[in-house]
Symmetry: C2
Subunit: 303 residues, 2 copies
């Protein structure tokens, strides 16, 4: 019998990815939603999270896909009410928030899962396996997209804690931290802040081990979500956000990018096994960039 | 017999604190220094760190008090050469650097000690003991000093990775994370960046549990290094950077602020015991502030 789940934050990512993934899953039944405005046809819709927690004691799992800044309070209330919690990326606005939630979930004996959807792209696991015994000589992340297309009018991405270009860029960092056989750490960064905004719209990062990254939210025309890794055993390319893997020019896999169904399958496993999965490494790289990065002012950004 | 130690980075803090503390210690003998310019009378002075590591195999402990950005490379080379490492605060320019050093030290079976000198101020341990069974209702950090007086002409504090006002502010954070009986996490922050500088000159932070902090490097006249904690059992005040403890208006202790001798005593214990001590919590709060903080531009700063 499927386990009942409540989805909180019915915005673009919920409608595009979470709802169809839950509906297609034999593990889960979408039993309620909580959102200020969004609803899902045929599913009980709440606007008051605490009311849902009170009334729907039959729902033991909460999936949170609202923006990172408000996410902590919802997660803390869910855990306090004894519910399992699944967090969209990034799992919080700060590293300390995630540490606090992890400690709370442990004390309450509930599952907490910090999801990183890009790690579920079809090329990532085989890329990790191929790299495992290689020596990396250099690597480059090229993550360039049009914020107007993917976050139309969503001012929260430019508000403090919204992470700016690292909102998509953290997807690349989640792949990087998953596939590279050795950890790297930041050496320098340029962060490009629009004159009228609180988060960067572009960033150039240089890590140890010859690893670099270009992140840009001003990309019109073709969009790029690519990672190249040069090794002593050949060249690995991930394209399309990790869905397509090419090694030495030969295509190894080209998946449909079905990331979210895999996240919900993993959450079902964790809950069934009484386990948790918390990994903050992608956030750590963002925090490092925000701490060490040089701030460069660029043109004001308006939608 | 005292253990031989090499001090790297003979600047203001080395001359003011490290050298006299080592000289007064029965645990240590200052056997060499490495610095571009500074020297210590009667002590072999190197400018080339690798040469010192090669020539002085009798020195098994290195104390690094150069600025945070170059510190990592020296620490990594010291550990690779099998030496124990003691790090001035903050222990690195980023959290990932410290994690990397910790892993390297563990693999090399050498001691690594991330020092937080303010925790050794005489009021801190009794403050922690007094707070242990109290409920904190609010707390406030008031950390205001004149950067021209304490860091005259040291541009690195305003360069990327120099942390700005958090260079002294992290001392308050090291006390906060030591004495508060529960962890707190940041809710919001204003970071005041001079128009011509890369790090904040002042900051206002708000954490959970009613904890707030004002950090300012523009303080002329009297300097303030105070922490007030309101509890269900009375009011605790730390003054003079933690050296003076006052509870409900009564002075409990007023020490001379002899922090560095205690650090070197602790390092001797760690090395003798084959142990390490790494705590990045104060840095985590700075990284959180830099990630979540709202950037406010203020007047340009020049010496």
């Amino acid at each position: 019998m499927p386990r009942k789940i409540c989805l909180v934050g019915i915005g673009k990512i919920a409608v595009d990815q979470h709802v169809p993934s839950i509906k297609a899953s034999a593990d889960w039944e979408l039993a309620a939603t909580v959102s200020r405005a969004g609803t899902v046809d045929g599913v009980q819709a709440y606007t008051d999270f605490d009311l849902m927690l009170d009334e729907r004691s039959d729902i033991d799992t909460i999936s949170l896909c609202l923006p990172p800044v408000p996410r902590y309070d919802y997660a803390a209330r869910a855990i306090a009410a004894g519910r399992h919690v699944m967090l969209e990326k990034p799992p919080g606005a700060t590293l300390s928030e995630v540490a606090a939630l992890e400690a709370m979930a442990k004390a309450a004996c509930v599952t907490i899962y910090t999801t990183w959807h890009s790690r579920m792209a079809e090329g990532v696991a085989p890329a990790k396996a191929w790299l495992e015994d290689k020596k990396v000589t250099s690597a480059h992340i090229n993550w360039k997209e049009d914020v107007r297309r993917w976050h139309p009018g969503q001012d929260w991405v430019f508000d403090p804690g919204g992470m700016g270009v690292f909102d998509p860029g953290i997807n690349a960092l989640s792949i990087m931290t998953e596939i590279l056989p050795i950890p790297v750490h930041l050496r320098s960064a340029d962060l490009l802040f629009p004159a009228n905004r609180d988060t960067p719209i572009a960033a150039h990062l240089t890590w140890t081990e010859g690893v670099t990254g270009d992140f840009d939210w001003r990309q019109e025309g073709p969009q790029s979500w690519d990672i190249t890794v040069e090794t002593n055993g050949g060249t690995l390319n991930l394209h399309d956000g990790g869905a397509r893997l090419v090694i030495d020019g030969a295509e190894v896999i080209a998946g449909p990018g079905a990331e979210y169904p895999a996240l919900y399958a993993r959450m079902a496993e964790l809950v069934a096994g009484g386990a948790s999965e918390v990994d903050v490494r992608p956030m750590l790289h963002v925090a490092d960039a925000m701490t060490l990065g040089k701030r460069v002012e660029v043109d004001a950004f308006d939608w």
